[in-house]
Every structure is written in C-alpha cells, then in structure tokens.
Symmetry: C2
Amino acid sequence: MIMSSTHMSLLPRFVNQVLRGSLFSSGVKIRKLVSLDGATKTTDCLRRRRVHTNSRNASHVELTSVRNPGLKRGPYATITDEDIEEFNKIIPGQVITDPSELSGYNTDWLKSCRGSSKVLLRPKSTNEVSAILRYCNQRRLAVVPQGGNTGLVGGSVPVFDEIILSTQLMNKIISVDDISGALVCQAGCVLQTLTDHVSEFGLIMPLDLGAKGSCHIGGNVATNAGGVRLLRYGSLHGSVLGIEAVLADGKIIDCLTTLRKDNTGYDLKQLFIGSEGTLGVVTAVSILCPSKPTSVNVAFLGCNTFQDILSIYKESKNNLAEILSAFEFLDASSMSVVTDNLKLTNPIASSPFYVLIETGGSNGTHDEETLNVFLQRVMELGLVKDGTIATELKKITHIWSIRDGMAEGLMRDGYCYKYDVSLPQSHFYKLVEDMRARLGDRVLRVLGYGHVGDGNLHLNVTTRHFDQDVVDMIEPFVYDWVARYRGSISAEHGIGFKKRNVIFYSKSQEAVSLMADLKNIVDPNRILNPYKLFPDQQ
Amino acid sequence: MIMSSTHMSLLPRFVNQVLRGSLFSSGVKIRKLVSLDGATKTTDCLRRRRVHTNSRNASHVELTSVRNPGLKRGPYATITDEDIEEFNKIIPGQVITDPSELSGYNTDWLKSCRGSSKVLLRPKSTNEVSAILRYCNQRRLAVVPQGGNTGLVGGSVPVFDEIILSTQLMNKIISVDDISGALVCQAGCVLQTLTDHVSEFGLIMPLDLGAKGSCHIGGNVATNAGGVRLLRYGSLHGSVLGIEAVLADGKIIDCLTTLRKDNTGYDLKQLFIGSEGTLGVVTAVSILCPSKPTSVNVAFLGCNTFQDILSIYKESKNNLAEILSAFEFLDASSMSVVTDNLKLTNPIASSPFYVLIETGGSNGTHDEETLNVFLQRVMELGLVKDGTIATELKKITHIWSIRDGMAEGLMRDGYCYKYDVSLPQSHFYKLVEDMRARLGDRVLRVLGYGHVGDGNLHLNVTTRHFDQDVVDMIEPFVYDWVARYRGSISAEHGIGFKKRNVIFYSKSQEAVSLMADLKNIVDPNRILNPYKLFPDQQ
C-alpha cells in the first residue's frame, strides 16, 4: 500500500525511513546474538551479585521468623559441632560457618526474606551432595538448596536455621554436542556462562532472563524458569533432555541422558523441573540448545492502548511467524522506573504503552524485509504511536536494558510487592488498572510489564518501606481477581515461601494433595526445603 | 560457486534446473499444509481402522496368555453379571459385551497381542470415566484404557480379561484460541480430525505421525507420541498445556489449563504424559498449536552412504534453520517394502539410502530460495546421488506416503519385529548392519528408517509368521547393543506389554523403583493397565 504524503507527517519517525527504503541501510547489522547479550549481562551480573557482597545491608532485613510470628519451626534437629565436623569430613574446606559470610546466603535478592542458618555447604560433586543429604536425612537436619539466589518468592533462602546447600562450586561444563545441540553441565553453572560457551558452537540457551548473570542452571530447572525466549523455544519441560538429582536420602537418580526421545517408563526428570528443591537436589542437567540465530533485529514501539499491543501481537504471529523471538511489553509507569531510578533514557516519545519485539533468524536480508513489512502493516493499522528499530549494538543493548532493568529499578523505590500472574490476554492489563484504582496514592507506583505472548503479567507495587497494610489491600484481592479468570497466581516465579498459602487459588485440593503424596514418597522426613511450596496446613 | 559443464553431466537430475534457476518456476507452489495432509490421512485412516472391522483376522492371533505361559493373571476380580448391570447404570447403551464386536478391541494393530476381555466400556464424559473407575477400584476389576488402538508395544489391549475402557465416544472439541493457539478437547478426538479443525484457525497440531487417521489425542499424550514434527515443535512435554485425568479411585485431577505458564506447584500433568495409562486415564487435553506454515516444500534425495545423510542433516540445520520441519530417512530395504507391498513407486533412482526433507515457513519465495541454496550446497559437496523436489500436491502426497506407509507395508510381509531405539547419530545405522549380518537369510528383511534429527531409528525385521527363534536371535542382542551406547530401547513407542522386562537396559534400578513408588500412590490396587510398563518382578 502506497501512503499519501498528507499521511506521512502523522506517522512515527521511522516511517519515512521505511518509505524511503533506507531503514536498514544506514546502521550496523547485528548478526550475533552474543554481542547483543554482552554488555547487559555484565551489568546484570554485578547487580545480582550485590546481595552476596553487601552483608550489612542484608542483616537489616527483618527475619522471616519475626515477620511471620505464627509460623512454627518444624521438628528438625539443630546443628551441632559434631555435625559441622562430619560435614568437614565429607567436603573438607567447603563448609562455611562465618556469620558475615553467611549473611548474603541467608537473605533473598529482594531483601524480603531472611533466615538464620548457621552453616553453608558447598559440595563440588554429585557424590558429595549425596553424602551430605544422606547424613542430613539420618540426623533430621533441614536443608535449603540454593543456586544463584535470584528467586523472587523466597524459595532459595532458609526460613529458620535450615542448612544452606549451595551449588556454587558445581560449575563444570561437561559436554556440548554441536550437531544435536545437547549441552551437559553441572547444576551450578551460571546461565550467562553457558550462553557464552554454547555460542562458540553456534548454539544458544533456550532460556534467557534478567538474572542470567548470576542465576544457576540448576536453579532455573528446579524453578522451571521462563523468561523472554519461552515464546520461541518453549518451556524447560520441553528443552531439558536429562537431569541428575539427589533425593533426600542420598539416592542418586541418574536420568542425565542426552537423547531427544526416550519413552522408557515415566519421564522422571519432569518431577524435578519446577519442584523448587522440595523433591530432590538437581546436580546436573542436559539441555537441548537451538541453533543460534545469525540475524537479530529489535523494534521498540510506543502505543496508545493495551488493546493496540494485543493487535500488534496478533500481527506479529502472522507476519514475523518463525523468526519472532521475543514480544515484551511495559507500561508508562514501568518506563518511569528505569528512567527515574536507573537513569536510562526512553529511546522514543513518551507513550502509555511500549512493546519490544525481537526477531532471530538465519537470513539477515529476509528478516529485515519481513520486519519492515510487518512494521508498515502495524503502522498502517494505526497501532503505533512512535517507534525505533535497533540496528546498532549499543542501541539494541540499551533497549534490552530497559526491559532487563525492571527488577533492579523497582528495588530502588524501597520495597517492591511482586505479583507474577498468567491471565487470558484479553484481561491481561485490566488487573493493573484495577489495582491502581484500588491503591491510589497509598503507594509509590502500580505498574505492569511482561511477556504478552505467554500471557504473563508482572504486576508490581512499590512503597518506600515494607507496609503490611498495603499487603492486606493487595491480597487476597489480586488472587481473587486472577482466580476469577482461571489464571495462575504464579506464572514463572514459583510458589517458594511467599505464595505457599495461596496455591489453592490456582490448584485444586485434589492436585495439591497429589503433590503432597509425591513429596511424601521421596522425602518422608520433609528435610528438603521445608516451609516452601506447600500451604502451612498441608 | 559456478560449476563447469564437464561436471554437470555427473550431477543428479535436478541440478540442471538449479543451475538454470528454474527449479521452482515451473511447478505449482504448495502453500497450504492441509492440502499436503489431506490424501495421505484419508488412506491412513482406513488402514488404521481395519483392525476394528476385521474381527475374523483378529481372532487368529495367538492369545497373549498362551504365548506367554509363564505370566500369571493378577489378583483381580472377575467380571460378573452384576458388574455389567452396574456399568449399564453408569453408561446406559455404552457397554459392549458381544464377542464379535469385542474382537478388534482385544487385539493390537500389529496383531501380535490378544487379550480376552469380556466387556468394552465407552464413556462419553469425564464424570462417567470417574464413576467407572471408582466402581472398578472398589471391585478390584482391572482396566485397560484404549484410544485408537494404534500402539506398537501391546500397551492398549488387555493381556488377560481386563475391562477395556475406550475413549472412542469422548470426541468433543471444546475450544480453539486462535491468538494463543490453545486447543482444548476430549481425549478421544482423532489426531487427523484435530489437524483439520485447527487448520481453519491457521494452526497446526504440534505432532504428526503415521497413525493420525485413527489414533486418539489422549493416547498420543498418554504414550508421549513423537512423530515427524518433533524435530521442529518439540515433545508433548513442552506443547501440552493442560491435562484432565481420572485416577484409579475415580478422583478427577483437573489441570486443564490453557495457560502457557503456570508455576504453582509441581507440574502434575507431566506425570500422565508417557505413563501409558498406568497412572490415570487422560480424559481431556489442552495443547499449544503452532501457526500453520503457509509455505511447504519437500525434497526427496538419494544418497550412497548413511554418513552422507548425517552430513546433509548438519547442512540442513545450518542452512534451512528455522524453516526445517522434517528430516526423515529410509534405507533401500525400506523402500522395497513400500514398492513391493504397497505398489508405490520410487520417485528417484534406486539408492542405498533416501532422505525426506520438509520445510515449512511463512514466506514462499524465501523458503524456496533457501531450499535451493541448500540443495546446491549438498550437491556440490557430493552428498546426493539423485533427488527430486515436490512442488505439486500429488507428488508431495506421494513422497510422504512412502514414509507414512512403512508400518502398513511391513505388516504385509507377514510378521514384523519392531525395535524403536534412540542412539547417538554417529552409531545410528550400524545397528541395522550388525542385525542384518546376524540374521542373514533366516528372515525376509532387516531394515531401518526413522527420524535422523531426533536420533530415533526404527529397526524392523520381518518373517512370514511369528518365530520365537528369530526373537531369540534379536533379543537381547539389540538391547545390549543399544545399552552399550547409552541409547533408549524405546524412543517413542513406549514400554507397553512387550518391552516391560527390558526397561533396565535404559533405566536404572533406582529410577524404576521411583516409578513403582509413583504408581503405588495413585493406583495402590494396580487396577490400571496391569502387566504394562513395569517388569514382571517389580
């Protein structure tokens, strides 16, 4: 469709480029995803690791046991000097008891949960994990497995004095098969390290998330992490090929196959994906890595309404089809978080809503043409207020840093109340509007961003300091709202400690009861990650 | 690369077309996958349903209990007139006891297993399934759930007199969301019916297999069916969004969500995917359907060695990348099965090996160009002996009918010994060669075909009639061979009845023991699909 010149003046800034056919001719083409990742990850890595190095800050966080006075410690043994001695025999030099060193490991990244563990164990091998758990099970010592400690529901830190079992030293990459795409590695490998490594074989990790600079692949698997690539590559239930896990009694379940197909009995590895460390400790994983796209493009668009974003999504499914690799949205309040708190600049004109679209393919010319045609179409449909296409590394990195910086930016408001829900796309944003109306000026911000394609909204509320009255205004209102539309009250963050008593908003009594049966057969003494995932009365 | 005219005479027939640049200009472009599917599916449907309509044939099959004299019937109740009366109250008019009607349901499609069930129950709703199972559990009546009865390991037919619980009348399509791609339907929907239905919404089913004309989606999910699209769209563990299942005691587990993400507790639906009806009866499913490619191309190539096929596969991953949708191979003996027994014609010159490559994308011109470049490359590398590109519907259908007709063609030899294994690609075909050398002229054929990209080989041996001596020459040789390379002794067919005692070749004692624990908590009376999946001593 040829557009008349009278229309052109009303169109966003890149339209003229599109019409002139010069949209992609001036910029540097970004052909390697790894260069796109680079800068963001390094910053991100530093961000995520802060919690471990700033223990003074951590010790100011209220103890979880104090904030939840009704919660009783389970019937577990208390650690003794003899226990420490025994651990030192199993993993000499890898037992940490110095309180200042422990502080970061006792506190979650959001600084919303703090335990009082007296010991951190850092095994290097599956056999060491097995020996530790066998001992703990015999002694009835409770254990919390911990990866990069980047979880957002308090699942990876102790509630009371559970022993912290860290995968930090289990960071060996075992093998990469560049034909099949199978990566095998220990559970403590950092996601970004794996991304960099498989990149050398022309592969990418099937998952990508804000915490990639410090989250561990074992933790990703144990929490069934989602992230921005799920839209393209699916969930870990599909891409994890094999798992090695250690049960509470020390038994090693070796399903660490690299086979793409294996229908010999129940697919046991699925049990551990998303079980949040309550069924076993994941010690090694095998993951199917897709071929790395050689051509990557990013578009960042501003829209007037959320409905426009849904229309753009539908168009992107039809027009970008197999090269669509990410479709993320944020609202104006989300943008203000990163501009106010992280001093990032909004690359386009202020809009009520923004959408970030990434394509990844194997043919640069085709991908650019396809994106071009798609953008022309959504502009012609009047769905776009303003927009830009990132063709230079710096600009691509900047655009992704807006999306990736959300969690960090929110933390700088003071305290952040996080809700991570799945909803039918048609009702997706109404929850943010209703919550905003409900909370009014009692809070700093109410905002929404997330993964449109997955129906996954991150609803966030911030205040200067933690305020139980605000919690009481949000909950159970938010859960009732989500349950009304048969949504999920935790799309990707999991249940952990914080959501344990609201699981019934998304799961039936029969389902939770079956989960408890499963827990009971593999961990009858309930030593693994107690007070997590299951409601208090279960 | 420009090739000299002296080389051109040595190249396969389509090279000249490629060099002339006219490869795609003369034929009709196939832009709709549904037209590609049509013809094959109809034939296939008739084929697969034969077993139910030809009961005389079925009654000639030796009873499983006779063929396995050492196997003892479990401690189950025997069905009485009162039971039949009770079933008639639960599902009036849907209880079949006529032996001639039952015959087909008692016998597997391969005519290798036959039970002697006296009753077939055909519920229409989940509540009916629940009431039936509750009653059977109380009475200790054993039950075999049955979908389209197209399984290849004897998993869907009774071993003794188990009640047959068919999903045949549970064939309602509940909803299709054309934006998210979520299809919700009852378990008894035929895969081809679903493919046709979602096609109207611009979607395709994420799985496709030879039995699509009569297999049920509930059976597909219960057996974690693989098929030719797994390479592109992954396994059902990734694409099934939700499951409703009924446990042995009649309890309904409702995880029938359409959400793409839901991390509220353990992902219970995964338990039922691939559990072969031993943990519960799948009554409804929700599946994520990808957008239907608007452009489909098929290439059929002949090669001299299996190594050439592996090299072509590697090239296809790099060059066809995101549009590669199937990569299937067959050997010369496989080709002879369909030419001898089904009177299909080989579309290219006789070759030791053949490969079928399908692309599916959203941009016809781009896909054709990409395929063209890829073919030029593999020809220049000397990997292709002869080949053809299917651009007309008739030819595409014909090429797929060669691959899809394998199972049917093999049956016409008389008796077929089927082995469905996963192996590292480098050792993939050596097993066929070793088996051929081992069996010599004692058998009609030894052949291999399958899914190269998934490392999944279908090794088949045929004789005129069943011969235990042949079985004894094949087994355990084949299992030892596969175990040596840490392969899977059942890549996609499952364990069922036939492979139950060889599960340890692929799974550890710890893993099978954990499976038994799982079975025990949901079906303590072991009424669901007994004698299947677990080894006799478990």
